[in-house]
Symmetry: C2
Subunit: 201 residues, 2 copies
């Protein structure tokens, strides 16, 4: 890796955790230059525009999410176990990744959901991919016989995302120490609802 790629990555690291606090839209080249001890113009040259920097941060976030949340979970056997692993990693990922100010992607989703442009498209792309992964994981849990055959994977994935989002908000804004516990409780109840009832099948 050449010098250019190296510093670019260092900038991205700093931008990533900064965006966690101020949002992807709140990123500032001046402040970022200050934190990385670079000149504004020197930093700027690595991206060509602020939007390109923001896009790079979003892509970085998605990549780390896949590494930290999804990939380890896929070592679990297909079925509810894998689904549960995803939820557990998901709830933990702001701690595992360097995200002192919360999930970048979720914040960006709320920020850009009504502002057409490349940033919104990128966020959208990422969330659609995540949703698809969830749907497929649920579908495999059905195939594996963990969930009832009439389970609607899209509905279950929908509800899983809701659990995650409210957990984040409860933990971060309301300072609710029980947020994770409640999220897991909701997940378990959800899965129990859709589970095949072993005694009756």
């Amino acid at each position: 890796m050449g010098k250019g790629e190296q510093t670019r990555q260092a900038i991205l690291d700093e931008a990533f955790s900064l965006a966690s606090c101020v949002g992807v839209g709140g990123l500032s080249i001046g402040i970022l230059a200050e934190r990385t001890k670079m000149s504004k113009s020197g930093l700027f040259a690595h991206f060509g525009s602020k939007e390109e920097l923001q896009l790079a941060v979003l892509r970085e976030a998605q990549q780390r999410f896949a590494e930290v949340v999804l990939r380890p979970a896929f070592r679990q056997p297909r079925g509810v176990a894998r689904l549960r692993a995803i939820v557990l990693n998901w709830l933990d990922w702001t701690r595992v990744a360097n995200l002192p100010g919360g999930c970048v992607i979720n914040a960006a989703a709320a920020e850009f959901d009504d502002q057409p442009g490349a940033l919104r498209d990128e966020v959208r792309r990422g969330l659609i991919a995540l949703r698809r992964t969830l749907v497929e994981t649920v579908a495999k849990a059905v195939e594996a016989g963990d969930l009832r055959p009439d389970t609607d994977p899209e509905q279950l994935a929908f509800e899983l995302e809701g659990i995650y989002q409210v957990a984040q908000q409860s933990r971060r804004l309301l300072n609710d120490p029980d947020a994770d516990r409640r999220a897991l409780f909701a997940f378990d109840r959800l899965v129990r609802d859709y589970a095949v009832e072993r005694g009756k099948e």
Copy 2:
């Protein structure tokens, strides 16, 4: 109402719908002055600082939420009927209120959840009040005999907020036309889970 209060409200109206699109943090006095056909300084004088303007917008949002979502629902008899009315109004409130860019409060929650200050405090206060209202409504549904006595109102309120949040995201960002239907489906399943089973009681 004097002239001052009148124009202040007009500014707030405009700021409210503008914040829906760009976020409470993205509000700009210059742009707001342009939209209201006022001078920056003339507009500014009504609030004294940008932060005070932002706080006023947040308070306005909370007041409208109470009027549009909660108050009508409280005309329903206590119990699941009232709870369902809240959810229905809730899902509709970005359409009923002038919120072309989505729920101001939820966006602000994601924006300020890690930035200490008066704005975060205000958002927090509003969301805590909402959560409490939900909890009490659930508790009354238990008293009314609609829900099982061992129902945990805080848990149910927690999950209700999750349903709302994912519905918003799915509708606004993913353009999912089924978002509201899925949210209602989740609500009904949730309530059925906690409902007293009439045949067995």
